[in-house]
Amino acid sequence: MADIRRRYKKPNLRLWLAGGWIALALAAALLAPWIAPHDPLTQDLLYGRLPPFWIEGAEPGFWLGTDSLGRDLLSRLIHGARIAFMVAFAAAIAACLVGSTLGLVAGYFGGWADRIISRIVDIWMSFPPVLFAILLIAVLGTGLHSVIIAIAVIDWTRFCRVIRAEAMVQARMDYVESAHIAGFGRVKTMIDEVLPNVLPSIIALLSLEMGIAIIVEAILSFVNLSVATDDPTWGGIIAEGRLSIHQAWWVLVFPLVALFLTVLSFSQLGEGLKQRFDPVLR
C-alpha cells in the first residue's frame, strides 16, 4: 500500500512543481505591464551593467541587474515571457490541431489516406527544421504571426507521427470492431472510441510542443528573425547577453535559466498530465 502510494505521489510532485513554475511564468506574462518594475525599453546609460541584487554595486529596484544599455533585466524577462507564451500556446495548439487530426485519420482509416498523409510527413520531415523556419520567415516576413505560423507549419508532423501510430493500435482493438458491428459509422467511431484513448498522448505532446515552440522562438529571435528587435524576447536578450558575457554574465544567464525552467516544466507537465488523464495509469 505504502509502495503504491509512493508511486502515485511522485508524478504529483512533478506535476505541481512544473505546473507551479508555468503558472508563475504565465501570470508574469499576463500581468507584465502592471508588475514589471520598469519599462523594459527605457535606456539609462548611467545605470548600465548593474549586477543583480546580491552582488556589491547593485542598485535597489533593479533586482536582476541591467544590461549594457541600462535596461532593467527583470522587466525585460517578464515582458519576454509574454511573447514566449503567446508563441507557445498559439503555435503548439495550431500544430496540434493539424497534426493530430491528420494523424488520427491516417492511423484509423489506413489505406490511401494513410499512404498520402505519411508520404507528406516523410517529405516534410526531411527539411532541416530550423532552416525551414528561417526560410518560411524570409518568405512571410518577420513578426509574431510569422513565427507562430512557421512553428505550426514545421511541427505538426510530430503530432501526426505519434498520433498515427497510436490510432493504428487503437483501430485494431475489439471495441472499435464492436462499435462498427453495433452500427456506428467510421468517423463517429474514430471520435468516440479512438480519440479518448489517444487524448492523453495528445495532451502530453501539446505540452512538450509548447516547450519546443519556446525554444524555436528563442532561436529565431537569437538570429533576429522573430519579432521587431525593440521588443524584449528571451532569445533576443540571450543574443545581447552573449556580447557582454565577460562584463555582465547575468544578462546571458537569467534568460537562459528562465528558458530552461519553462521548457523543462512543459515537458514534465506533459508527462504528469498524461498519467493524470489516462484511466489505466491513474
Binding site: 482493438m173 475489439d174 464492436s178 458491428i181 452500427g183 456506428f184
Partner: protein, 293 residues
C-alpha cells in the same frame, strides 16, 4: 426464409485466390443455439466476421449469400447492411479485456448503442441496462456502471458484455469463443450465464468455439468446420452419440473428460487429416473448374 440466419454456399477468398471459406452452409433457426466448431484456422471466425460485415479488406466474398431475417445482406448497400446487422445481431466477443474501451466508463459504453443507434431515450436505456446487469447477477450495478473497464475483473467484464449483447433484444447473438480468454473456474459460470440468458430471452445464438465440451453444455445443434469446409452437422446428442465423419470421431476422442482424467488425450489421426486435406483439394479443384478459373 424463416431462418434467423441462413448462410448458403458461401465462399471467401484471399487476393491470391486461396479459399478461406469453401461453399459453407449454416442455418440458425429463431431461438436455436448452434455451435460452430473447428480448430484454429478452420474459418469459424471468418464466417462470423463475414456475417457481421467486418471481414479484413483483403478477404472477398466470391460466392454465396448471407440471409439475415429474410434479407439478403449481399443486396443491401453498405449503410443499409450495417443497419440491418446492428438492428438484429449482437456480438459477445472473445476477449473481454480488449472489447471494452479502457478510457470510457461502462455505463455510457453500454447505453451508447441503444441511444445513438436504436434511438432510445437515455432514461429508458439506463433503466434497461440496470435490469440487464441484474439479470447477469451483477449486484452492485450502480458502481459497475460508473467504473472504468480496468476496475473490473475479466469475468465481470464478460458479464457486462453479455448484458450489453442482450440489451437491445437482438434476434441473433454471435458468441465468438466467449470463454476462451477466461479462467477455467470462471468459464463454467459464464457458460451457465449465457445459457440462462438465452432461455430467458429466447435469442438465437451462433456459438463459435473449439471446445466440444462447451458445445455439449450449451447448444442443440452443431456444425463442424475444417479448412473452411463443413465436415459434419447435426443435433448435438445425435452427433455425439453417433458421429458420422472420422474427423468428428477423432475430435470427440481428443476431448478431455473431467470424469476420467487418466484417459490419455488422443491426437487427431494423421490419416484422417490427410483425407481431409485431399477432400479440401478436390473441393477446390471442382470449384475452380466450375468457375472457369
Amino acid at each position: 426464409m424463416t431462418d434467423c440466419l441462413a448462410i448458403t454456399n458461401l465462399s471467401a477468398t484471399l487476393p491470391d485466390g486461396q479459399r478461406l471459406l469453401r461453399s459453407v452452409n449454416v442455418n440458425v433457426a429463431p431461438g436455436e443455439v448452434r455451435a460452430l466448431v473447428g480448430e484454429s484456422g478452420a474459418g469459424k471466425s471468418m464466417l462470423s466476421k463475414a456475417v457481421l460485415g467486418v471481414l479484413p479488406v483483403s478477404v472477398k466474398i466470391v460466392e454465396g449469400d448471407i440471409w439475415l431475417q429474410g434479407n439478403d445482406l449481399g443486396r443491401l448497400t453498405a449503410a443499409k447492411r450495417r443497419q440491418a446487422v446492428a438492428a438484429s445481431i449482437a456480438l459477445i466477443p472473445q476477449d473481454p479485456l480488449t472489447a471494452l474501451n479502457p478510457s470510457r466508463r461502462i455505463g455510457p459504453q453500454m447505453t451508447d448503442r441503444l441511444v445513438k443507434i436504436l434511438g432510445w431515450d437515455q432514461t429508458r436505456a439506463d433503466e434497461r441496462v440496470r435490469t440487464l446487469l441484474d439479470e447477469v447477477h451483477i449486484r452492485d450495478g450502480e458502481r459497475v456502471l460508473r467504473a472504468y473497464p480496468h476496475e473490473l475483473s475479466g469475468g465481470m467484464r464478460q458479464r457486462v458484455l453479455i448484458a450489453a449483447a442482450f440489451a437491445a433484444e437482438p434476434k441473433l447473438i454471435i458468441a465468438d469463443e466467449p470463454t476462451t480468454a477466461l479462467d477455467v473456474t470462471v468459464q463454467k459460470q459464464i457458460l451457465r450465464l449465457i445459457a440462462e440468458m438465452q432461455r430467458l430471452h429466447g435469442t438465437a445464438i451462433l456459438f463459435v468455439t473449439h471446445d466440444l465440451g462447451v458445445v455439449a453444455k450449451i447448444s442443440q445443434n452443431v456444425t463442424i468446420l475444417y479448412g473452411g469446409m463443413v465436415v459434419e452437422e447435426g443435433a448435438v446428442d445425435q452427433l455425439f452419440a453417433n458421429p458420422q465423419h472420422p474427423y468428428t470421431r477423432a475430435l470427440l476422442a481428443a476431448t478431455p473428460r473431467y470424469t476420467d482424467p487418466e484417459a490419455s488425450l488422443l491426437p487427431v489421426d494423421q490419416s484422417v487429416l490427410s483425407d481431409l486435406a485431399k477432400a479440401v483439394e478436390t473441393a477446390d479443384r471442382d470449384w475452380m473448374s466450375s468457375h472457369g478459373g
